[in-house]
């Protein structure tokens, strides 16, 4: 069977499962639509959370990012996992005890302020929309690369699938499809990784293979060899190359952790478990399922980089006749050249492709002495490291088909979670909470479905016509969540003294400095040409990149909220009692009735 047919079969089978679940898990009440009836087992919720969290970026892009940033990529590994520690200890159990449906609802109730609730809704919608556009793009790309259909056709198919299970089933339908999607994506990710680790090191576990010796009989450690070949080619040493300064890496990691813990689409998953103690353990299970992919990714990145270099330098790196001959290049290179993710140019016309770092003066001097006229691999897209991995390692076709299904599962599951966060903010916080407090449950459920359908259409439109901010997911979504939502939630639980004025001033202050810093270097509202200063390390304050600034915004939020609260009246007694009550698990059952 040819690859395209096989891919259609595998992807079609997974879609049939998702649709089947949609019919089985329909939502009949608002509690089911918003929180899956609060009956999800903590391990099942952990799995759903893992799929909810691991996006197209985690699945397709992260290993490639690590492959080319080496140690610097640790920022993403630690940042996108360490946030679960904060979530499990500082937020999830207490918000579950609170027992409502949305994140803005907690902020509005705890700070007895519609203004605070609306600020939270705006932050939620901007962060989630930014994030969902990336998923839409991921769906379109996966379809067009693997199934050879138009980007738009792929996007509409993906939207149609999400529409069926998210509109019918709400959180209930999304939860059970996310569990299925987790299974698909984790197999798709780990199977090629196991094969490649076996080929290179003889050890089936990439977590151990990364630290093992090469299977080629030389006895050299894989990372040692990788360090040697990349430095030989003029690139920075893999295991020590940093992402800016150590301070930048510190704050970048902190911003991603705080942002992860503050992202509403992740938090609301913990509203679906029956008890407070389940919310605690469920965060642990979520991280177990996430860690399976996140501890595999560094192996995939390093091994794919090594495989790529081996392919391009079959006769030895930086040797006179060591480079790959154009005519001898493997089929997978030709296939991916057609997609624009790979490109070469034989600049010196010697019929070979020399790949090295031509921004490194020493390497350039060496290259010139051999008659090379610059790096000839003019385009190596990072995403190729995962997408073409099975082909580079010459794995069977069914593995390639599985990677396509896995990429789609990762994008669909995250998109659905984000769309639910958006639609519940619209139907529950804005409609029921602010504009139409008297609507019946049935009307609210219908409003939820309409909001979901509307959110899907908006996301699809923005996926087809991505605005400037779409590429800024890390800066914008994590910056907003870290600087506004996380501190407001944490202080709402851990301080009885922070009041409405403090919370609003804190959120606006944190948000203000973060957005100012991002816009300063990336343009006002990301409009090209409106940057106030070039976006490079010499202009940044203390070398802190805009993506790493969310942590500073969070500090500003905490400081402003505490100072303003001290200067104004303390919260009313019933609010202080509310805080006392969410701090203890007892009574969570009655809150469920809502």
């Amino acid at each position: 069977m040819d690859l395209t047919t096989l891919t259609y079969l595998v992807v079609g089978a997974t879609f049939a499962v998702y649709i089947g679940i949609a019919f089985w898990a329909r939502a009949a009440t608002t509690a089911e639509f918003y929180a899956a009836g609060r009956g999800v087992h903590p391990i099942a919720n952990g799995m759903a959370t893992a799929a909810d969290w691991m996006s197209a970026a985690s699945f397709i892009s992260m290993a490639g990012l690590i492959a080319f940033t080496g140690y610097g990529g640790s920022v993403f590994l630690m940042g996108w996992t360490g946030g679960y520690v904060l979530l499990a200890m500082l937020l999830a159990p207490y918000l579950r005890k609170f027992g409502k449906f949305t994140v803005p609802e907690f902020i509005g109730d705890r700070y007895y302020s519609q203004t605070a609730r609306i600020v939270a809704v705006v932050c939620l919608i901007v962060a989630s929309i930014t994030y969902v556009i990336g998923q839409m793009k991921g769906i379109g790309v996966a379809f067009s690369r693997f199934l050879e259909v138009e980007f738009a056709t792929g996007l509409f198919t993906g939207m149609g699938i999400v529409f069926v299970y998210a509109v019918m089933g709400g959180m209930k339908g999304i939860t059970y499809t996310q569990i299925a999607q987790y299974v698909v994506l984790i197999f798709a990710y780990t199977i090629p990784a196991i094969f490649i680790s076996l080929q290179l090191t003889g050890n089936p576990l990439p977590q151990l293979g990364l630290g093992a010796t090469m299977a080629d009989g030389t006895g050299v450690h894989l990372l040692t060899k990788l360090d040697l070949v990349v430095t030989d080619l003029g690139f920075k040493e893999y295991t020590t190359q940093k992402l800016g300064s150590s301070l930048n890496m510190f704050l970048y990691t902190l911003s991603l952790m705080i942002g992860t813990a503050g992202l509403p689409h992740v938090i609301i998953r913990f509203f679906t478990v029956p008890r407070v103690r389940d919310a605690r353990s469920s965060a642990g299970w979520a991280l177990v399922f996430i860690a399976i992919l996140y501890t595999t990714a560094p192996g995939v990145g390093a091994m794919a980089r090594l495989n790529l270099i081996d392919t391009l330098w079959p006769g030895g790196v930086m040797t006179a006749d060591g480079a790959l001959e154009v005519e001898q290049r493997p089929d997978w290179m030709k296939r991916w050249e057609a997609t624009g993710l790979l490109g070469f140019e034989d600049k010196n016309g010697d019929g070979r492709i020399q790949y090295y770092d031509d921004s490194n003066p020493q390497t350039v001097a060496r290259a010139e002495s051999m008659g090379w006229k610059g790096n000839e691999m003019t385009n190596v897209d990072r995403d190729i490291m995962v997408l073409a991995n099975p082909e580079i390692a010459q794995l069977p076709n069914w593995v390639i088909a599985l990677v396509a299904a896995g990429g789609l599962a990762a994008a669909l599951s995250t998109a659905a979670g984000l769309l639910l966060a958006i639609s519940s903010a619209v139907s529950h916080d804005l409609m029921k909470g602010v504009f139409l407090p008297d609507i019946s449950e049935k009307a609210e459920l219908n409003a939820g479905r309409i909001a979901m359908a509307g959110a899907i259409v908006v996301a699809g439109y923005l996926g087809l016509n991505p605005p400037g901010f779409a590429a800024q997911v890390v800066a914008l979504a994590f910056g907003l969540a870290a600087s506004s939502i996380f501190p407001a939630l944490m202080m709402g639980i851990f301080s009885k003294r922070v009041n409405n004025f403090g919370a609003i001033a804190g959120m606006l202050g944190g948000l203000g400095v973060t957005l100012l810093y991002i816009f300063w270097f990336k343009g006002w509202f990301f409009i090209p040409g409106t940057e106030m200063a070039a976006n490079n390390a010499s202009n940044w304050i203390l070398g802190i990149s805009p993506e790493a600034f969310g942590a500073v915004g969070a500090m500003v939020n905490f400081a402003v909220a505490i100072v303003v609260s001290r200067m104004t009246a303390e919260p009313p007694v019933h609010i202080q009692e509310l805080v006392e009550s969410i701090r203890v698990p007892r009574g969570a059952g009655s809150a469920t009735a809502h």
Partner: protein, 83 residues
């Protein structure tokens, strides 16, 4: 209410310990002491690199389960567990 306060203090103490470990394995070992720890080699891994790309994640998982187990015990000891 005094019982509630003792429970909350116990929670805060446990939380602080867990967050100190969380900080040490990622920020201290993975970033601030990275170069120092890299002088130690474990198999094919430099230690600082291992903490940054593998070790910190394993410790995060263990921390959450440890915290959850201890809190379940505190819930019962202080009589605030769910009915």
């Amino acid at each position: 209410m005094s019982n509630g306060n003792a429970y909350w203090r116990a929670n805060l103490r446990l939380l602080s310990i867990c967050l100190v470990i969380w900080f040490v394995v990622s920020y201290l070992f993975g970033i601030m002491l990275f170069d120092v720890l890299n002088t130690i080699q474990i198999g094919g891994y430099k230690l600082g690199f291992w903490f940054a790309q593998q070790g910190s994640i394993y410790v995060f998982v263990a921390l959450i389960f440890y915290y959850a187990a201890r809190m379940n015990r505190y819930d019962r000891e202080h009589g605030v567990e769910e009915e």
